[in-house]
């Protein structure tokens, strides 16, 4: 049991943390009624994935990946830069999604005067009837 804990849980804590964060975000997206909270949930979910990627690229004791031939010959270890670059792109996508989502919420607030999903559905039903 103790061995399992050490090998699976503590040694790979970065993955566990991103899983926990992901589930928190997922819960917020599903269970929260407030639209802003849903967006926050989405952001937590995305950030968890970003952290997962970043921790993939990291090497203990690794330096920044600006190296010359002789530094490699001396045995420098450097961090894989590709996940960081991918995540830069993914962050841009995430920001764009959040911006569109917030714009929609602002427009909905102007339209209905509330940002609670259940109240919006209620108002819409009254209008339809």
């Amino acid at each position: 049991m103790m061995e399992w804990l050490i090998e699976e849980l503590f040694a790979k804590y970065n993955y566990w943390i991103s899983i926990v964060l992901m589930l928190i975000g997922f819960y917020a997206m599903i269970a929260k009624d407030n639209l802003i909270k849903k967006i926050i949930g989405l952001n937590i979910f995305q950030t968890a994935i970003f952290l997962f990627y970043i921790s993939l690229g990291d090497i203990t004791g690794g330096t920044e990946p600006i190296v010359s031939e002789e530094m490699i010959a001396q045995g420098y270890v450097y961090v894989n830069p590709l996940p960081h670059v991918l995540i830069l792109t993914a962050i841009v996508v995430g920001v764009a999604t959040t911006a569109v989502a917030l714009a929609l919420v602002i427009l909905m607030y102007e339209e209905y005067g509330t940002i609670e999903e259940s109240e919006i559905i209620e108002l819409e039903r009254e209008r339809g009837a």
């Binding site: 994935i49 993914a90 999604t97 569109v100 427009l107």
Partner: protein, 518 residues
């Protein structure tokens, strides 16, 4: 290097440049935005035809970005599957953009410029997903077209905002799963190029990470393509968007997501993986079968025309996914492999595109949203109603329309697959019956019932005045309606006589489908 080998990248670049040109020029003159968008999509369409010709005669096109060889650089690859989807996608975009001129002037007069800029971005994203050979690049393009789609759906305001928000939350979630899958694959292989992945993955098929990645891809893309249990965003989004966007959403956006799924299944992973390691396709068949029935039943319950069509899309996506699910267990030269699925992608784009554009025409003319409002409309708008009828009988599956061809091929594929999959024949026949119920209701309303004003003097000589939609809207609608029949006849002639359809055969050959015997 031939000029045609540069076309994949030009396709994306001119489309994206056009989006920004529209914004800048539109500041000075609103009227130009339509023409810029139309011209760009026309040029793109011509390019896509050249690409298809080149792929069929010479072979696959590889384009290396900045001359960097893969797997270091990003690569664009176009084979028969991409080229086929690309032509369908640009043809439908061209038709929708032609239709949109008058309809957008009427519906969103103060948002013309932003509408066309976003429309162009939507086309960019869709083309990007189809041409790319790099899986992370695919994720970025999926997000580009999704973001454009969220904004376009919301452009009508009011209830559309809520629909768009739901789509955004679910769509972003789906994309996140896709991203997570990419991360898993990257962590075990260290590459993002699809071809490179397909070489590095086979020894790792037993690995849990590789299998989990496949599940993430499947779930993420199923949300994007609105497969039955995760279809909940679709009915609202499709019914409240402007009509040309509904036509795009139903006709091509969910199909491009299906394309992405097919690409991931057969180009990144392989047939061997799907059959031996994660046999998910039988399950997909079941889910799709449920989707077909439930989508149709819910469509019957709708009184809003566009909402009915949206639920019908849920059931049609079931058809496509059923055909994809069957593709690994069919071996016949004619209906084996992906042939029925790819056929139905084209057929559904034609039928649903036409139906949504007609629904938009009713809204344009007289704000007619509900089926009960359409009483006696056939006399007032004869051509539009005729187009609707043609597309509707295609959906029901009357020969020789495209719907008939799809249904026959999917049924033959079910019989070919054998075993318990024969029950899907019953599912398809039941679905045809349900289609008949909900489309006949509309046709009956248009042709059999009298209009409101005519009740009293039904026998008097004054005929109802014909009041058709403008020509720039009528031509796209009629083109699609006629194509529904013409393409159906082409399918019927081409396949049994020549023995096969060259493009679809090439796709099957590429993925080793249709001939595979376990």
């Amino acid at each position: 290097m031939l000029i045609v080998e540069h076309l994949p990248v030009l396709l994306i670049v001119i489309s994206m440049l056009a989006a920004f040109t529209i914004l800048i020029v539109g500041w000075w003159n609103k009227k130009t935005s339509f023409f810029i968008s139309f011209a760009t999509i026309l040029v793109q369409f011509v390019m896509s035809i050249f690409i298809l010709r080149h792929v069929m005669t010479v072979g696959t096109i590889y384009y290396w970005f900045g001359g960097w060889a893969p797997p270091w650089g990003i690569e664009y690859v176009i084979d028969a599957l991409n080229a086929y989807v690309l032509v369908i996608l640009l043809a439908l975009s061209l038709i929708c953009v032609t239709y949109s001129k008058r309809s957008i002037e009427h519906e969103l007069p103060d948002k013309i410029v932003s509408f066309y800029a976003l429309f162009q971005l939507l086309v960019t994203g869709l083309c990007g997903v189809t041409v790319t050979g790099d899986i992370f690049n695919m994720y970025v393009f999926v997000e580009i077209f999704s973001l454009a789609a969220y904004a376009l759906i919301a452009s009508r305001g009011k209830i559309a905002l809520k629909a768009s928000f739901t789509y955004l939350v679910l769509g972003a979630l789906g994309a996140c799963f896709f991203l997570l899958g990419i991360g898993f694959l990257y962590s075990v292989t260290g590459t993002l190029n699809m071809h490179d992945l397909s070489i590095l993955l086979p020894p790792l098929y037993g690995n849990r990470v590789v299998q989990a990645a496949f599940v993430f891809f499947t779930v993420g893309l199923c949300v994007k393509m609105a497969l039955f249990p995760v279809h909940t965003w679709l009915p609202d989004a499709h019914s409240f968007a402007p009509s040309e966007i509904s036509a795009m959403l139903s006709g091509i956006i969910i199909e491009v997501s299906t394309y992405a799924f097919i690409r991931v299944c057969f180009s990144v992973y392989s047939l061997e993986f799907i059959i031996e390691y994660v046999p998910i396709f039988d399950f997909l068949c079941l889910v799709a079968g449920l989707g077909i029935i439930i989508g149709s039943v819910l469509a019957i319950a709708q009184y809003n025309l566009k909402r009915m069509l949206a639920y019908s899309s849920v059931s049609q996506m079931g058809y496509i996914m059923l055909a994809v699910g069957l593709s690994v267990s069919t071996h016949h030269a004619l209906w084996g492999g992906l042939t029925p699925a790819l056929m139905h992608i084209l057929n559904h784009a034609l039928m649903k595109g036409c139906l949504f554009l007609v629904a938009g025409a009713f809204i344009y003319k007289a704000e007619l949203w509900n089926i009960s409002d359409l009483q006696g409309l056939a006399k007032k708008m004869p051509y539009t109603c005729a187009a609707f009828t043609l597309a509707a009988i295609s959906m029901i599956g009357v020969p020789p329309s495209v719907g008939f061809v799809s249904k026959v091929y999917i049924i033959l594929a079910c019989l070919d697959a054998g075993g318990w999959k024969i029950i899907f024949v019953a599912v398809l026949l039941l679905s045809t019956l349900l289609n008949l119920v909900y489309f006949w209701r509309v046709i009956e309303m248009m042709y059999m019932k009298r209009g409101e004003g005519e009740e009293g003097h039904s026998h008097s000589s004054s005929p109802v005045k014909v009041d058709e939609i403008p020509l720039s809207m009528l031509i796209p609608v009629l083109t699609l309606a006629i194509l529904c029949i013409v393409v159906g006849i082409i399918w019927l002639m081409e396949i049994p006589i020549i023995g096969s359809f060259p493009i679809l055969d090439r796709v099957n050959e590429l993925f080793g489908l249709g001939v595979y015997a376990p």
